[in-house]
């Protein structure tokens, strides 16, 4: 238990989540599950960026009522900002995908992706 596995644990989880996400997109037949797969992918990428931003012994960059020892040890919050932006975008993408899914169900009567392929060839 020399800590290296704990340092790398977030990245292992990221890899597992990426694999799970791609598996869900690539092999599940339900359209809603495909959407969920994309959400898993997004979670993996967000987690990757947040894990990159972790600095051991650093403090959150909030000056309001910070503990005195935090001065000079605050971390740059760029990764958190990136993650937040990507979450915002993810919300929009998910909402639009689900709206499409509703509309597809209305017109096709199914959410099976092997049947939603009038456009091909």
């Amino acid at each position: 238990m020399n800590g290296s596995i704990f340092v790398n644990l977030p990245f292992i989880v990221v890899a597992v989540l990426l694999a799970l996400g791609f598996y869900t997109i690539g092999f599940k037949r339900n359209l809603i599950k495909v959407v969920i797969g994309i959400e898993i992918l997004e979670g993996a990428v967000n987690m990757f960026i947040v894990a990159l931003g972790y600095v051991k012994g650093g403090y959150a960059p909030i000056y309001t009522q910070a503990p005195p020892e935090a001065a000079g040890k605050m971390v740059l919050p760029t990764p958190q900002a990136l993650t937040l932006t990507s979450i915002v975008i993810g919300v929009a993408v998910t909402a639009l995908m689900l709206a499409f899914a509703v509309n597809i169900y209305k017109h096709y009567g199914t959410l099976d992706v092997t049947k939603i392929r009038r456009l091909r060839g």
């Binding site: 990426l18 997109i25 359209l31 495909v34 994309i38 992918l41 997004e42 990428v45 990757f48 960026i49 990159l52 760029t78 990764p79 990136l82 932006t85 990507s86 975008i89 929009a92 993408v93 639009l96 995908m97 499409f100 899914a101 509309n103 597809i104 209305k106 017109h107 096709y108 939603i116 392929r117 009038r118 456009l119 060839g121």
Partner: protein, 517 residues
Amino acid sequence: MMEHLPALMIAIPLFGAFTAPLFKKHYKEVSIWAIIITGITVVLSLLLAKEVVTGGIMVYVFGADKPTLVLPSGYSVPIRIMFEVDAMSAFMAISATLMSFIGAIYSYSHVERETGLEKYYALLMLLEVGILGMVLTGDLFNLFVFLEIAGIAGSALVGFRNYRGEASEAGIKYLIVSAVASLMVLFAVGILYGQYGNLNLAYIAKNVSFNMVDMVAFGLLFTSFAMKCGAVPMHYWVPDAYTEVPAGINPPLLVATYASLYALFRVSFTLFANVVIDLARVGWIMSILGVLTMFIGVTMALVQKDVKRLMSYHAISQTGYMLLGVGVGLTVLHDPSKLAEFGRDAMAGGVFHIINHIIYKSLLLMTAGALFYATGTRNLNEMGGLARKMPITTISFMIGAAAISGLPPFNGFASKLLIYETSYRLNPLLTVFAMVTSVLTLASFVKVFASAFLGPPLEKFENTREVPKPMIIAMVILAALCILFGLFPNLVLDKLVYPAVDALINSAQYHSWGGLA
């Protein structure tokens, strides 16, 4: 005011996009509003190009005291979001604004029978914002954000005709593809950020060390942008999306595709330009993708019966020419003698082909939209004898078809000539494929022409007449541009294309923010 141009390029279409929903049911007014806003951006982009071509790279740092303050005092790394506009960006910006303008004019009549137009125009301008942001930005994360904006706006427009199930299907396909591609772009950005602690494109490019992790990031970026620009075999979303989108959106959507191509070039030339050994490998990957894209695209187009789907496959096939041209240039980028001999011209051919293709393929897709508007069908088997009913559409189609097949004196000829001659120097086999593709392109457009426009007049189309004026104006503008660019290729090449190519080749200029640091 000139130094604020890059910010205004984004702010003005955003303003237009956010005011458009306030128009509610006043559809005529909102269409005119969109035409005005996109027209202003055309003027701005021309001004921007003039500034950049004469004055070199333009940097705009957001939130700083002055636009060129890249490194605030006490910092050795850039910390703010910045736009970095070189000639290549300006070139793409002109294409984007021009095509949004044309699309807005065309839409004035083409979608007048639909509802929810205030959202349609808001999304059109948002799509323009996404494209402009992608091509102007100098920040990797910003690139991701604008890629997503363009992807969301584009797929919402693809699914705009929500009373058609196929439109929703195409929309979700496009959205899934663009969501996965942009997430992988974000992943690659995360990899690069983790190593270099910065998101600025120029800063990372200066410090990138080409270890294995970097190359994984490069591979992710390359594949994602290749998928978004429709390279075979990741092109399946292109025909779906282009077919179902209203024809007025086709021009901006085409440019959105080529904004990804621009990002691909930017990543290969600027971000990873200093890698010496592998660049030839990257160039070969790009050329081979290009040849595959050309050939499979055109052979699939030959068997299509839906007129817009046929043209979408041609859009894929023409993307191959650009990949081939620029790929040939990339292969010899670190070999100065070969670069001067044919590499620079190959890249000029590829880059020139972008704007040529945007013009004539928009024209062709618009004529297909006009056919759909007039006859209510896109199936070629049901059409026939329309040449007498719709003369202007027919002539526009002929000009577009001649241009895409590379017949002189239309604009496709000049860029294809450059690509043929230069790819022959690298490997004659590439040229053979390019020429066969060109012949097959002509063949399939002869098919469209023969079956839709020629032949005896059919009884069911007796009451068909020419499409309304705004659609004709849009088509005639593009047809005129086709002839103009074909007769005077020098004009465009010297003023726009060669500066853009030189901007791509001289990555050192980009890395130092145009000499600011």
